[in-house]
Amino acid sequence: MTLTFERPTETVVSATVESLRATYGERTVTTHAVREQHSHGEGMQDAGLPDVVVFPESNEEIASILKLCNQARIPVIAYGTGTSLEGHLKALYGGVCLDLSRMAKVLEINAEDLDCRVQAGVTREQLNLDIRHTGLFFPIDPGANASIGGMSATRASGTNAVRYGTMRENILGLTVVTPDGRIIRTGTRARKSSAGYDLTRLYIGSEGTLGIITEIQLKLYGVPERVSAAVCQFDDLREAVNAVITAMQLGIPMARIELLDEVQMKASIQYSKLEGFEPRPTLFMEFHGTDAYVAEQIEQMKSITADFGGSDYRFADKQEDRTKLWKARHDAYWAGMNYIPGKQAFSTDTCVPISRLADSVMAAKAEVAKSGLVCMIVGHVGDGNFHVLITFDPNSSDERNRAELAADRIAHIAIGMGGTCTGEHGIGIHKLEVLKVEHGEGVDVMRTIKQALDPHNIMNPGKTIPMQ
């Protein structure tokens, strides 16, 4: 089967926009600047503007907007904070962009139960600020101050996933508005879900293509007694990766373990003004637990890294020092962009079985060398997931082609190793073809599910699941 979408006539579109304006007044915005701002995330800029941006304030408003759009066959795209990377927000067929920033209430904090319920527009930093007094925290940290709704819709993860899991493991239940305007609640606060299929997991990571996630029940964690960050440098990239593989195989419960290659370190040292570091392959680590537990983890890691030629350990126990370190890690993209002014860049997102990590990173390095472009590697290596940031001159179609070829090769190498083309960024519009390679006929079932739950294909059409 194939999915199709045909943009309704301009008369239908403008009648819909006027109807929205009549109901939502100033919360219906059609200025070019606002529509442009809502048409892209942080990745490559793709042209494709929504016809209108609406700022709903309740589940019921979203339900009635979806009903209207479903009848008129107008696309609907959800917008959180605009930090997605794979073109998820591009309005391929125009339509309505739902900006959820006015739905930003923390609805419940159940400190004793270690859970909370939030509206989709709450950002992860806002949530952590709101629960600070409880001694709890929400660990998923993709770097950007993304909205919880967006993080759910893209199944986000980030630097803490190696210890705390991804959004998938940390969501207990959702409120979702379906394209026909029904408000459904999946999951409960109980650990064991009730009868039926695990719809919660289906909606997590569906990139806005099945419905609009409006509320999320999240797990929370106690702030550890001690948090200690450490940095260790290596002469050899493969050895740094091997140290990570060994640590994971021994089951050391690292909270974060991140790799930056020598090019990325050079860029980050410049951009983030890191003092006393050399541009060599480097591991950034963080340990969480009781005093005794953290001390033991550090001893184990020191011994492992020493076996692989790691040296120059530096520790950061104070909050401000840790913040500086992790800010440098999260600013890797901007450091890369700053490193060679005038270039654009995109990032690969492969994830491979942990034992193939070293081979996969080295193969990616070889592809990078072939491309002749400046690239840097940074990754959540504890999960087998890493990013190659490939820079190119936006005015040179030759460079852009070489960049795309390298990215494509790196994805295929990972799939050949039993891995995936995307560990955390998602499919969006940029990885539709590779998804077919990875899942073969399985894509047909995904398409059937999409068709069944969104018969008129109005939910973020053209994303996540290839139309044919």
Partner: protein, 356 residues
């Protein structure tokens, strides 16, 4: 004979069985050893015996991944993993010596470690399935993180044989903790609930908590110094041969589960205050840090138990001894049921497999 051709023959055999059933509107019952038949929907029709598709396809302990065919016994998989110092961390109940991996995934049950290590679905990295059209499809993979397309392998976990024949599953493996011990406390139920929640929130290396027969059992596991320091902090008495105790509990061979009276399972928020739903405390047990409660009660008590569960953010059903589907699980909200039906139809358009 090479394994590939064996696999092909097996899959093709089932494919023709499914296609024939679809063509004539017949039903198929997917069945392993039948160890969990008591807690799933009734399956009628010609049997697809998953025990015919056996074997560990791939297991390199240093990959932390094991790929297994559906008919393989859970016990054989756990043995292979234990030999390499690893485990299925969700501690699945077997409920029978011959219980299979396929049945384990389809029933979606996790054991005592569930609230602390994660549920079965959190360890399913990918799977292969034969859908109701006889297509052999592959979802997910062998990696820890994968956001390529819809999360179909999680949808199949716990689908009770209603969406298709799960033929192969890849699991995430974890190392067996270096040290383990169980502390026992004499507490009333409410104190037990409070302690379970408080101790877990304090980041102790807890991997199981159960209150039964007036005693709270708390299992600690991890690096030796962490376990020792937590044991000293928590207090209580050490339990001898604790592995056997937890195995018995998980397999429902503990005396609490003896007898013919129906067994009600109740899921709720973990801090839900003790309520004397059964006639006396001996007839109730508390599991999963308070989030799962077991009751020995009659079917007549079920409505009252369900009403209470609802006030505590949860639900309840008869786990053993249910006389009907309605006793086994609570009916779904209408809008939710509509979505479920659409998913069922996407996988099984000719209604070859049993209904949920």
């Amino acid at each position: 004979m090479c394994l590939t051709s064996y696999e092909q023959i097996m899959i093709e055999h089932w494919q023709s069985q499914i296609k024939a059933a679809a063509a004539k509107g017949a039903k198929l019952a997917i069945r392993g050893s039948g160890s969990k038949a008591f807690c799933g929907p009734v399956a009628n029709g010609e049997i697809i015996d998953t025990r015919e598709h056996v074997g560990i396809v791939e297991y390199e302990p240093n990959e932390l991944v094991i790929v297994v065919r559906c008919g393989t016994r859970i016990a054989d998989v756990e043995k292979a993993m234990a030999d390499a110092g690893q485990m299925l961390a969700f501690e699945p109940p077997h409920f029978g010596e011959h219980a299979t991996i396929g049945g384990m995934v389809a029933s979606g049950l996790s054991g005592p470690r569930r609230p602390y290590a994660g549920a079965l679905r959190d360890f399913v990295l990918g799977c292969k399935v034969l859908d109701g059209k006889g297509d052999h499809l592959s979802f997910g993979g062998k990696v820890m993180k994968n956001v390529a397309g819809f999360d179909v392998s999680r949808l199949l976990t716990g689908s009770q044989g209603t969406l298709g024949v799960i033929t192969e599953v890849a699991f995430k493996c974890l190392p067996v903790p270096k040290a383990q011990q169980t502390r026992v406390f004499e507490f009333d139920a409410q104190t037990a609930i409070e302690r379970m929640n408080r101790w877990y929130g304090e980041a102790n290396p807890i991997t199981a908590t159960t209150w039964v027969g007036g005693k709270l059992y708390v299992r600690l596991a991890g690096a030796a110094p962490a376990v020792q320091s937590a044991a000293a902090n928590l207090g209580g008495e050490a339990l001898a041969i604790d592995a056997d105790w937890w195995r018995n509990w998980r397999e429902q061979k503990h005396e609490f589960f003896a007898g013919d009276q129906p067994l009600i399972r109740l899921a709720c928020k973990s801090t839900a205050a003790w309520s004397d739903l059964a006639s006396n405390a001996e007839q109730q047990a508390i599991d999963w840090g308070g989030a799962q409660r077991w009751l020995r009660a009659s079917a007549a008590q079920l409505p009252a138990v369900r009403a209470w569960a609802k006030t505590q953010g949860g639900h309840a059903g008869i786990f053993r001894g249910a006389n009907s589907e309605a006793e086994r699980s609570e009916p779904l909200q209408t809008a939710l049921a509509a979505v479920q039906a659409k998913i069922k139809a996407s996988f099984d358009p000719y209604q070859v497999f049993s209904s949920l």
